[in-house]
């Protein structure tokens, strides 16, 4: 598989479906100093993610799943271990790996269109028209074409996350990192977004790492579900979900998977506040 790196020079090229990345995480540890002493957020975590794979990380809060996501994003550095994307070490943030956060990190000083354009403006070699075409394409993809002139505060929670998704997709990253993006939304909106996300993932062919504490959500979206246990943050088990797509969150087959995963989660769960080891 020969990959040619080049700068896109037209909207059409920019909109090409590009090859997704492969991620290799090896023996990554990370600790934080908190008020109550050091916390080992990640302890010798290793994980491989294949090109175009949809991987979900689940676990109780404090299990380090978000930390791992931030490390892959390049926003944080591991204390030890290596993280590689396509065989190259990740040294900092980069637009091949874009993040969608739980709270909409949309910029209130820009309207919807301006937010989607933000990342595109940082890509070289695109004309103004290219950028506009690309932004319009992604707004269409998330179903918000009618709202391109809207201000951020005028949108509902679900719409905000759609804009966030469009903004993260617009620079055409190889990897999409999602940090509990739907946690703050109501159930109905969430179900819609599960459908949309699976459709978009298929259409744009991305590697997705998706952090959640919602097991059903993980089983619905992921090819694989990686289960973490907290204090110290470790990968305990992983489950392959081989159901056909698009998946319905309410299907019985899915419930079978999520029950199994939940059981595993509970088996090594500790009461809140308990000190591990």
């Amino acid at each position: 598989m020969q990959r040619v790196f080049r700068h896109p020079s037209s909207a059409a090229e920019e909109l090409e479906v590009i090859e997704p990345s492969k991620l290799a995480i090896q023996n990554v540890s990370k600790s934080f100093r908190g008020a109550s002493g050091g916390v080992l957020a990640l302890d010798q975590v290793s994980l491989n993610v294949a090109e175009g794979e949809f991987v979900c990380l689940v676990g109780a809060s404090g299990c380090g799943k978000s930390t791992l996501l931030n490390i892959i994003a390049g926003l944080e550095k591991p204390d030890s271990g290596t993280v590689q994307a396509d065989g190259k070490p990740i040294t900092g943030p980069g637009r091949e790996r874009l993040v969608m956060f739980q709270e909409p990190a949309l910029f209130p000083w820009l309207n919807v269109f301006g937010n989607v354009l933000f990342g595109l403006k940082l890509k070289p070699n695109l004309t103004k028209k290219d950028r506009h075409d690309v932004a319009k394409y992604y707004l269409e993809l998330v179903g918000l074409s009618r709202f391109e002139r809207a201000n951020i505060h005028e949108l509902s929670g679900g719409m905000k996350q759609r804009v966030s998704l469009a903004r993260a997709l617009a620079p055409n990253p190889r990897v999409l990192l999602m940090d509990e993006p739907f946690a703050a939304l109501d159930a109905l909106t969430r179900e819609q977004l599960y459908g949309d996300l699976q459709r978009i993932w298929k259409a744009r062919n991305k590697t997705i790492v998706f952090v959640t504490h919602n097991v059903r959500e993980a089983a619905c979206l992921g090819d694989r579900v990686i289960v973490f246990s907290p204090r110290p943050g470790r990968i305990r088990e992983e489950f392959a979900v081989d159901l056909p797509r698009p998946r319905d969150i309410n299907s019985v087959d899915l419930a079978v998977h999520s029950t199994e995963i939940t059981k595993a989660l509970k088996s090594y769960g500790q009461p809140e506040g308990a000190i591990a080891q």
Binding site: W109, L122, H153
Partner: protein, 255 residues
């Protein structure tokens, strides 16, 4: 339209009360002229050009001083927000000096610069500068870290980050600092002009001062009205539209 009529009615009532007080000879007519006398003064001053000249002199001092204060204050505020050392030094200095009414600078300005335009400018700059520094610093410190994290992943850094993320995100704070700086500058300039006669230009404050010297209360009150109107206009023409834009974009409530 209804709101406008209501406001017009309110000011008409104010004028009537004033006129009534004048007719009742509550105070001596020397101390309280009638609205008509004030209007006549304003008309003659407008026609013979003294008013326009004074307004130009005052506004020039104000605008130049304000601009200097803003242009110096904004980067200073950004720097103090960025580096702890500067926060502890310049930031603390700014906080201290902001509590100092800027008219307190007038004696010093006179000693340093003499009776010159520079003295006036200095006072205005001191009125503006510290408010802008503090507001910018506070604004930058209050930018949610998630904005810069999101921008970082999209490839924004250094100057781009400052100009396209941090500054716009801090805009609501900066604008309120600009507004406060404007108010401080305006007040201190008036005080300075009343206090000191500068031969290079005869501003509104000086007109007011000489009105008092000549016991021409219609001049004093007339100039006060002009000062109020200028303040109102600055708000309506300059700050109001910016604030409206901020409210619309950010979705903060507006009365």
């Amino acid at each position: 339209m209804k709101r406008f009529l209501l406001a017009a009615l309110f000011f008409a009532v104010l004028l009537l009360i004033w006129e009534a007080l004048f007719r009742a000879k509550f105070w001596s007519p020397v101390l309280l002229p009638s609205p008509k006398q004030v209007a006549v003064y304003l008309e003659t001053a407008a026609l013979d050009g003294t008013l326009a000249k004074a307004i130009i002199v005052t506004m020039r001092r104000l605008l130049i001083g304000y601009l200097i204060g803003f242009v110096v204050g904004l980067p200073l505020g950004l720097l103090t927000a960025r580096w702890k050392v500067l926060q502890d030094t310049i930031g603390t200095l700014a906080l201290g000096l902001q509590t100092l009414p800027s008219v307190c600078w007038v004696p010093l300005a006179l000693l340093w610069f003499g009776q010159t335009e520079a003295a006036m400018l200095f006072v205005v700059v001191m009125g503006t500068l510290w408010s802008v520094v503090i507001a910018t610093e506070t604004g930058v410190r209050n930018v949610p870290p998630i904005y810069s994290r999101a921008a970082l992943t999209m490839g924004s850094k250094r100057l781009h980050m400052w100009f396209k993320v941090i500054l716009p995100a801090a805009l609501p704070f900066i604008v309120s600092g600009m507004k406060q700086g404007w108010a401080f500058a305006w007040r201190s300039l008036m005080a300075a002009e009343i206090f000191v006669t500068i031969l290079t230009g005869f501003g509104l404050g000086q007109l007011l001062h000489y009105g008092r010297e000549l016991s021409a209360m219609e001049q004093v009150i007339g100039i006060m009205i002009v000062i109020v109107v200028i303040g109102l206009l600055a708000d309506k023409i300059f700050f109001s539209p910016i604030e409206k834009f901020l409210h619309r974009r950010w979705g903060t409530s507006q009365a």
